[in-house]
């Protein structure tokens, strides 16, 4: 019994079919609890007023935007090293979710920045890095869409993901060097002093759990779709041959 067994599409379909509804329900629950708690039952911040409520969307989305890319990096590596098709398809399935998360982080950030910093957009390192991350996602998706042969597409996009990760990291530091930021430091920290206050922290944890679970649910659903699409294609090809 090992994780690699699920590289077999049949086993993956069987397991994911059972897990998917559970994860979907859990994610819905967490999101509803976290967002309702955050929106209706938390006090305003003494400086930021009610805009602090945006944190329940902004932070989890930003967190996921980066982690989705990391997950794509891992699955790309698995594809390159062990050539498991499910892994390559999972990377493909994850990219649009990453785009949406990045967009949410950027948009809520802009809406939050408007009253707080007096501007929708500033060329702040964090904002700029996210914009660059967004461009990387777009390029990745476009490359998948442009190549017809499945295995070549998986190979090329995996290598792009690896190279892109290195350059995304370089850009992150380059951008830091280039401009000092308006953005505050990390909102979450293991260091109790630096962390956000508990009133905001507890619902935020629910929201983060909700976003993570939502990502897993969507990822499973979309990977299943990709597997089905590929099976349909190969069956059709076989039909034409017969």
């Amino acid at each position: 019994m090992s994780l690699w067994e699920y590289a077999n599409p049949v086993k993956f379909m069987a397991l994911s079919g059972r897990v998917l509804p559970v994860v979907a329900v859990l994610s819905g629950l967490c999101l509803v609890v976290g967002l309702v708690w955050g929106f209706f039952f938390t006090p305003d911040d003494f400086r930021q007023g009610s805009t602090v409520k945006i944190i329940y969307l902004h932070v989890p989305a930003a967190l996921m935007a980066i982690n989705v890319w990391l997950m794509m990096l891992v699955t790309s590596l698995v594809w390159i090293i062990r050539r498991h098709h499910v892994s390559a398809l999972a990377a493909k399935a994850a990219a649009p979710i990453g785009v949406v998360m990045t967009l949410i982080a950027l948009i809520t950030g802009a809406i939050w920045g408007q009253p707080m910093w007096g501007t929708w957009w500033a060329w702040d390192p964090r904002l700029t890095s996210f914009l660059i991350l967004f461009l990387f996602y777009l390029g990745y998706i476009a490359l998948w869409a442009a190549i017809e042969d499945n295995d070549s597409a998986a190979d090329l996009t995996s290598i792009l993901c690896l190279v892109g990760s290195v350059f995304a990291l370089l850009s992150r530091y380059a951008v830091n060097f280039w401009n000092q930021g308006l953005h505050q430091g990390a909102s979450l920290s293991l260091d109790k002093e630096k962390n956000v206050a508990d009133v905001f922290y507890q619902p935020l944890l629910f929201c983060i759990a909700g976003f993570v679970l939502l990502f897993i649910a969507l990822l499973l659903l979309r990977t299943r779709t990709e597997i089905r699409v590929r099976r349909t294609k190969s069956l059709l090809a076989r039909e034409r041959m017969a």
Partner: protein, 218 residues
């Protein structure tokens, strides 16, 4: 190896202007900027380093699909894949030839175009230095992009979409070095970072380009 380099250079010289085209494009971009932002020389001289860097980058981008597309179409790449030369070397030479035919002319022409944009006199040396250090990275990264998209019909736009985000670190350090130089500040730190990026990409990226090209030729 030398034969391949010479062949690529000759082709670039001969094949109807691939050589001068990048330069002409660079000139046009620099000439259009004053039309866009107005002719005030104070404004132009503050934005000159950035514009020159951006112009060089775009001129470089414009010629990327020529690196591999022609060889792909007439089957030269398949032959090169069978040749005893490892693919990594082929790719590096192609990038080097691209740099010699587009990057180097841009570096040489940049001071002239700096005159057009009223670049402060302190800025010329840092500008040329930063371009000299930075354009090889542009060629190497561009070769990677060209290798990725070589099998795709009408891949030009996709090539730009893939390559431009990869150009971000080079552009930031390069333009920053040129800008600091123009303002009379020390530009050593960005130049060092730029050199790091350039040498890093030259050392590592040909492996990725070669891997990608092998997938495309398969």
């Amino acid at each position: 190896m030398k034969a391949l380099l010479i062949r690529d250079l000759q082709l670039a010289m001969r094949a109807g202007g691939g050589f001068g085209l990048g330069l002409a494009f660079f000139l046009i971009v620099t000439a259009l900027v004053p039309f866009g932002v107005g002719p005030q020389s104070a404004l132009l001289s503050t934005i000159a380093p950035g514009i020159l860097w951006l112009g060089a980058l775009l001129a470089c981008l414009l010629s990327l699909d020529r690196i591999l597309a022609l060889d792909w179409e007439d089957g030269t790449l398949d032959l090169l894949a069978c040749a005893p030369l490892p693919m990594e070397a082929t790719v590096s030479i192609k990038a080097f030839a691209h740099w010699l035919t587009t990057g180097l002319p841009l570096v040489i022409a940049a001071p002239l175009f700096g005159l057009l944009l009223n670049l402060p006199s302190a800025g010329y040396i840092p500008l040329v230095l930063s371009l000299l250090l930075g354009t090889p990275a542009l060629s190497v990264i561009g070769t990677f992009g060209a290798a990725l998209t070589v099998g795709i019909k009408r891949g030009g736009l996709l090539l730009s979409l893939l390559v431009l985000p990869l150009y971000v670190p080079t552009l930031i350090y390069g333009a920053e070095a040129a800008r600091r130089g123009a303002e009379g500040l020390s530009s050593t730190t960005p130049l060092m970072m730029l050199a790091g990026i350039t040498f890093g990409t030259i050392a590592l990226l040909p492996f990725a380009s070669a891997a990608v090209l092998r997938v495309n030729i398969r």
